[in-house]
Every structure is written in structure tokens, then in C-alpha cells.
């Protein structure tokens, strides 16, 4: 309980549970699907890096699914969904005009204030929250470079869903952009020490990025994933090990200082 209180200041402390958010747009990019929902209450409060809990329509799904805020424009929140299992697959089949229940914005945000130079590092679907970060930073006049790694050609088509000026892509099978992982891109970049790193992706990528930032003397933030039940701090189902002990991805996270995470 006291832990909860310690960290209460770290992120927005308002909730919006929005029922029947209309699906305003659905766009498919290879393995990923971009959904745009009309959710003014969520959009108004959203900060980059935060997520929403999404109710999967239809019987047969008990728990809500956590999805990062991909974009926030006016009263619309965008989600980028990869079909990994039955629930996310169902969400990719939503159609314009249908509606879906979401709760959010939830969790901690990527700090962006005062940042002049940003490097966004994304792995696969982990790139989703970084568009919102890029939009936020660009609006504040910061310089933004993004490096995204994808599995293969099909996954790399997700890059088409992003609008970031300096966006480098790597694919493990070399079908698109740099052959290899996102780390190969980072190795080629010359980044100023004033650069802030924003990372989201699979655990091995987070580990590699953390290692790289230490070597380069950069500081930054990572957004982590965990299996969730409540998504709102009640169940302690989503803990990860950090320098501050076990913390909840849904509550103290998903965004943590890069030097705190223990991937």
C-alpha cells in the first residue's frame, strides 16, 4: 500500500472508463492493424507511453487486453494491434462503426518535457507507443530519430503505419532496410550525449538497448510488457523486477527509467 503511495505522483491519477467507443477507422499494415476510436475522455488525458485496457467484444473473453496509445488526435485515440492470440486477433477484426469498451489512460508516461534530442527504439509491436512519443516531441520542437526492428517483410509493413521523418528500419531476414536487429542501426548512428532514448520492445531488445545506452553514456526510458489481469493496480499480477524491487507494470509502469529495469 505504502509503495502505491510513494509512486502515486509519478503519473496521471484520473481514470476514464469509456463504453461503446465507436471505431472510426481500421487500417491493416501487414501483421498489424491500426484502429482509431472515438474516445474524448481518454484522449483528453492521455500522455505518451500510457495504455488502455480494451474489452474484447463477444462472449468467451474474461480479462481486458492492455494496448498502448499509438496516436492521440483530437477526440480520437489510435491503437496498433498485432494478432498474437485469440483476443488480439478478435480486435484486429473490428470494423468501422462497431464499438468497443476501453479504460484509460493507464500507467506511467514517457517524460518528454525539456527533451531536445530523442532516439526512439522499437522492436516489433513494441514500436506502437513510440508514434505518440514522436508526435509529442515534434510538437515541442525536439529532434526525433526512430529505429525500429521487425521480424520479416510482413511485419515490417507496419512501418507504413508510422509517420516519423527520420525512421530507420531493420528486419531480421534482411527483406526491408538494414539486415539484422535494431541494434545494428544504433551502432551506425552517431548520437549526441544529449539524446534521450525511448525504448519499447521484446525483453532481449530492452536488455541490449540498456547495455548500449550505458556504453554510450545515454539516459532514457523503457516501456515494459507483463501479463495483466486488472490493469489498474489491484491484483499485483503484472510485476517486474526493477532496481526498486518488484513493481507493477500497470501502475508504477509501463514506463521505467532505462537504468531501473532488469530485463
Amino acid at each position: 500500500m505504502s509503495q502505491t503511495a510513494d509512486t502515486a505522483h509519478e503519473h496521471p491519477s484520473l481514470w476514464a472508463e469509456s463504453s461503446h467507443c465507436r471505431v472510426a477507422a481500421v487500417l491493416h499494415y501487414g501483421a498489424f492493424t491500426a484502429l482509431e476510436l472515438i474516445a474524448p475522455a481518454v484522449a483528453r488525458r492521455a500522455a505518451p507511453g500510457q495504455f488502455v485496457m480494451v474489452t474484447v467484444p463477444g462472449a468467451g473473453f474474461l480479462l481486458r487486453r492492455p494496448l498502448s496509445l499509438f496516436t492521440v488526435r483530437g477526440d480520437r485515440v489510435g491503437l496498433l494491434v498485432e494478432a498474437r492470440g485469440s483476443g488480439s486477433e478478435r480486435l484486429t477484426r473490428l470494423e468501422v462503426g462497431q464499438s468497443v469498451d476501453i479504460a484509460g489512460p493507464l500507467g506511467s508516461a514517457f517524460p518528454t518535457r525539456g527533451v531536445t534530442n530523442a532516439l526512439l527504439v522499437g522492436g516489433g509491436i513494441g514500436s506502437a507507443p513510440l508514434q505518440f512519443v514522436a508526435d509529442d516531441l515534434a510538437a515541442a520542437g525536439a529532434g526525433v530519430t526512430a529505429a525500429f526492428g521487425f521480424r520479416d517483410f510482413r511485419a515490417a509493413r507496419a512501418a507504413g503505419a508510422f509517420s516519423i521523418d527520420r525512421l530507420w528500419v531493420a528486419t531480421e531476414d534482411g527483406s526491408v532496410g538494414r539486415a539484422g536487429t535494431v541494434l545494428h542501426i544504433l551502432a551506425d548512428l552517431d548520437v549526441s550525449s544529449a539524446t534521450t532514448v525511448y525504448a519499447c520492445g521484446p525483453t532481449p531488445m530492452i536488455a541490449a538497448v540498456q547495455h548500449w545506452t550505458l556504453a554510450e553514456g545515454l539516459h532514457g526510458y523503457a516501456s515494459l510488457e507483463a501479463h495483466m489481469a486488472c490493469g489498474t493496480g489491484s491484483c499485483h499480477g503484472c510485476v517486474v523486477d526493477t532496481a526498486r524491487g518488484k513493481l507493477r507494470v500497470c501502475s508504477e509502469g509501463p514506463v521505467f527509467p532505462l537504468d531501473e529495469v532488469r530485463p
Binding site: M1, S2, Q3, T4, A5, A8, S13, L14, W15, E17, T55, G60, F61, L62, L63, R64, G87, D101, A103, L106, A226, H227, M228, A229, C230, G231, T232, G233, S234, C235, H236, G237, C238, V239, V240, G245, K246, S251
Partner: protein, 323 residues
């Protein structure tokens, strides 16, 4: 206006010495008051939806809980292996002032691996309440002894053994005059044996069911999915078993109040537990489906009673029992 006032139905119930505004409590470990308050626009303390608050189980010592992953979904249910993560009774007590102003009564869920560990928690709280200024302590009016933890000596769950269960209840009973519940595990052959042992040892009431020991595999590796290998199954999937057990206990121990739980997602589910003999009903996994789940379930319960011309929960209690 809280749903409890609306409609022609009087939702209030007496749970032992407690007079509750309505029959719905939160199931321990599934609802964190402070986390809701932090995310709420208004004053969540004023709008607190449950008639009493059962916090997550607290133990004498601090516990870091089980390795991740700790939760996942199953057909019409979910499995969890949190491992009683909690700050320990000392830090827990230090946090009380943060929510001391909650109007509703609090039933503290207590865990441990030995009778002594349970007793230490109750003793610490009784001592604190005797000394602390009233406005720095919530209205703690009862204890729920969660005997689903493994017994350090036998390794088995304490709650699977009548003697071990009686040992825990017996160790706590002398330390408090407050309402004492024993929370029973369903991982037993005959739940009435454990129920009777708990009552004979001094429990005022019983709550059931806790989760069913279960296992989920990772579809890729075919290895146990949870960091703890096994976990506890709950949700609608197990409701029919929970209803059967609540009915058995209510029938075997007619005078003993029962808090029923297990897969309550709707007002009708709650009414079914009452019909099986429960005085109050706890909502667990449903809290994860929507932040307003308790409000919805409560108004559905009122409607279900209204639709059947039942003036109160008491009028429905035990309708499913007997010939």
C-alpha cells in the same frame, strides 16, 4: 444516491455483528481501494461501492510473491499465482492513515504458514487499534483468516486439514473479540469437515471459495505458464462448484453466516449464492472486467430481487436448499 437506496428492495443485510448496506463485498486480492481512489475523478471514499472492504491478504512478514508471469486467462476464467505479495503487517499498519477515512467496515484478510504467523498479525492490529488515534485507523471490524497458504510443516494447504485449520482459528480467537471469518479452500474432498472444524475452533462465520489449484501450459513450450508452475483458478468457470460448496456448508451449519464467492459476474450470480445460503457475496475477478463492475452487479441484484418480488436478500437466502 447509492444503488442500495433505490428501488423498493431493502438490500441491507446483517453479517454476524456487522450491519451492511448491501450484500456485496470485494474478494480479497482483487480490489485495492487506494488504487481506485487514485484513478477516480471524484472522492472514491464517498462513492465506495462495496458494503465492506476486504483488503489483500496481509502476513506478519513482508512477501515479494511469486515470479512472473502471475496471471493469465482460461476458458471462462483466469488463473493467478501472486504468492501473497504484501508489505508485511508493520508497513501495512503504517499505511492505514491513508485510508482511515473509509466509512465502510473493514475485514482484514490474514495469511500465514503457521498459527503463530496468523496470530502475530491479529495481535499487532489489536495492539495498534488500542493505541492509535481513532482518525488514523479505518473501521476494522473483523478478520478473514485465509487458510489457503501451504502449511510449513505438512507442505499441504492449511485449509485442506481440519486440525491445521482449527489450529489457526484457535490461535487467533483469544486475541480479538471482533468478527472472525475463516476463508475455506475448495481443494478438499468434504468442505463441511473443514467448515465445522473452523467453527468449533471459534470462527464466527465462513467465506468460500478461494481458488482451485490448477495449471496452464505455455502453448509454445508446453511448460507450465505461470512462474509458480501452478496457480489458483477462479471466475465463471468454477461458479457451479462454488455454489455446490456454499450450499453444502449452509446446509451443514445452518446457524453460521456464509460469505459466498466464486465467479460472480452479475446480479443473478450474486442472487444464486444467496439462494444457496450465503448472507453476503464477494466479487473477485469481475473487478478486472470493468472499474464499475461492483456498481453494475449491485443494481442488477436489486433488479433481480425486484423482479421476483423478493423484498430483501434475506427473503432469497436458502431458497435453493432443502427438499
Amino acid at each position: 444516491m447509492s444503488p442500495a437506496q433505490a428501488g423498493s428492495v431493502d438490500l441491507s443485510v446483517r453479517l454476524g455483528p456487522l450491519r451492511l448496506e448491501h450484500p456485496l463485498l470485494d474478494a480479497s486480492g482483487t480490489f485495492d481501494l487506494l488504487e481506485y481512489a487514485r484513478r477516480y475523478d471524484g472522492d472514491y471514499f464517498a462513492d465506495f461501492p462495496y458494503s465492506a472492504y476486504v483488503p489483500k491478504t496481509v502476513t506478519a512478514d513482508a512477501r515479494t510473491g511469486n515470479p512472473a508471469p502471475r496471471v493469465t486467462e482460461t476458458p471462462a476464467g483466469m488463473i493467478n499465482a501472486i504468492g501473497l505479495e504484501n508489505p508485511g503487517i508493520e508497513r501495512w499498519i503504517a499505511g492505514l492513515p491513508e485510508w482511515a477515512r473509509l466509512r465502510q467496515p473493514v475485514i482484514v484478510s490474514v495469511g500465514g504458514n503457521t498459527p503463530e504467523q496468523y496470530a502475530a498479525v491479529v495481535a499487532a492490529l489489536e495492539a495498534h487499534m488500542a493505541s492509535a488515534p481513532a482518525d488514523e485507523v479505518p473501521r476494522i471490524e473483523g478478520y478473514e483468516l485465509n487458510v489457503s497458504c501451504p502449511n510449513v510443516s505438512s507442505g499441504l494447504q492449511i485449509g485442506a486439514d481440519p486440525a491445521a485449520t482449527a489450529g489457526v482459528v484457535g490461535a487467533c480467537r483469544p486475541l480479538t473479540t471482533r468478527f472472525l471469518l475463516a476463508k475455506l479452500t475448495p481443494n478438499v474432498g468434504d468442505v463441511t469437515l473443514i467448515a465445522r472444524a473452523a467453527v468449533d475452533a471459534g470462527a464466527d462465520a465462513l467465506s468460500l471459495v478461494n481458488t482451485f489449484k490448477a495449471m496452464v501450459l505455455d502453448a509454445q513450450t508446453l511448460r507450465p505458464f505461470l512462474g509458480n508452475r501452478t496457480g489458483g483458478l477462479c471466475g465463471p468457470a468454477i461458479k457451479p462448484i462454488a455454489l455446490r460448496m456454499v450450499a453444502e456448508v449452509a446446509q451443514a451449519l445452518p446457524g453460521v453466516p456464509v460469505v459466498g464467492m466464486g465467479g460472480v459476474m452479475s446480479g443473478l450470480d450474486a442472487l444464486e449464492f444467496i439462494a444457496c445460503g450465503a448472507t453476503a457475496v464477494a466479487v473477485g475477478a469481475a473487478n478486472f472486467t470493468a472499474l464499475e463492475a461492483p456498481q453494475r452487479i449491485l443494481s442488477e441484484l436489486r433488479d433481480e430481487l425486484n423482479a421476483r418480488g423478493l423484498a430483501s436478500p434475506a427473503a432469497a437466502r436458502g431458497l435453493a436448499l432443502g427438499a
